[in-house]
Symmetry: C2
Subunit: 185 residues, 2 copies
DNA sequence: ATACCCATGTAAAAAGTTACATGATTAG
DNA sequence: CTAATCATGTAACTTTTTACATGGGTAT
């Protein structure tokens, strides 16, 4: 049995929610999970091909395919493999955060430069916070769904993450003010 | 002028702290910045080569080189380019978090599986918290250094991040308890 | 008509990891 | 002497992005 990589599992995950096309899958990543996952077409189409070869997904026969669309459905084998993966150990990923990297290497001369970086980040966190609030509102309409608690949980993570990062930016900007004050005196 | 990528800037960043070897650079990434950045040898050595070609770094002539070590030093051109990069806009990176991905796709049947994931994560956050505390202690010894406030800031980010994620795991585990209770009743 | 979304797919490039080959030095 | 650590480097592979080619459908 061939090895399935994370992208393929992510695609399989979308398929567990119902049959769809490669395009739909991309949309799904772009909208619902964009704050913690992304996939490009260059990954999705080959993944669908590979999953089909592996017997984890199959093309749905569609009469009258609109716009040449191909739709895929998860197989029971795919379902099984997906459930296995879901609980398997997560191998540590190397987290990379360029804002942190730049902060780490900054010195006194860089204060004006990093101030702009933090201000920009702060604005982004505010935007993200608004987006979460909006999504929160939409979610309450699907209250009864089986997946609802888990969706809410990922949303909640976003909120906590954004609050933490927001608070950090505030602290950072205060620090910059203080450092600049010291320089002048 | 050739394009310099993020890895090369990261390497250049280490060189701003003093001349060192590829091995030292690796060590630096592994120890001081591992919680927000990582580079492998397969990236570092080619980066040093490229930076030298670009005139951003140069090999230091060492008599009696210990163990065949090569040491590199940043040039004034490298310094200039690094400062320019430090304040330049950060292009949005696609954040990927497999724990979130799995949570998103989880359903009621996966409760025991995801519980293990959250427990593992919780333990990791506790460990990370201890590590930060320890680093915090070491940092106070370098109190006067010019870079000190920025180092402290990255450490502070780590603390806030870990606290947020820790809190989230706790919430998640409570949710799982609640869902399991519902199932039984 | 013409612009915009829907839709599939691939090729090339870039980014990154892993495994290996090689050898010096040091600590026990 | 031997194991661990220091040290450099490359090749193969995997992963991911970006750009392109192609064309159907729909709304103005």
């Amino acid at each position: 049995m061939g090895k399935i990589n994370t992208t393929q599992y992510a695609v399989l995950g979308v398929l567990t929610r119902g049959e769809c096309s490669g395009y739909d899958i991309r949309k799904h990543f772009e909208t619902s999970v964009s704050h913690f996952w992304s996939e490009s077409y260059g990954q999705i189409y080959p993944a669908l091909k590979k999953l089909t070869e592996e017997g984890c997904a199959e093309e749905v026969e569609v009469m009258e395919r609109s716009r040449g669309q191909k739709r895929y459905r998860i197989t029971s084998e795919g379902e099984r493999r997906f459930r296995d993966w879901l609980g398997s150990p997560i191998d540590p990923v190397n987290y990379r955060d360029e804002l942190l990297l730049r902060t780490f290497f900054a010195g006194k001369k860089d204060i004006p430069a990093v101030r702009i970086l933090f201000e920009r980040e702060l604005a982004e966190m505010q935007q993200a916070r608004d987006a979460y609030l909006k999504q929160q509102g939409m979610l309450t309409q699907h209250d009864g769904d089986e997946e609802h608690p888990f969706l809410a949980l990922t949303l909640r993570y976003g909120e906590l993450f954004v609050e933490a990062r927001y608070a950090w930016c505030i602290e950072a900007l205060k620090l910059l003010d203080r450092l600049e004050g010291e320089n002048e005196s």
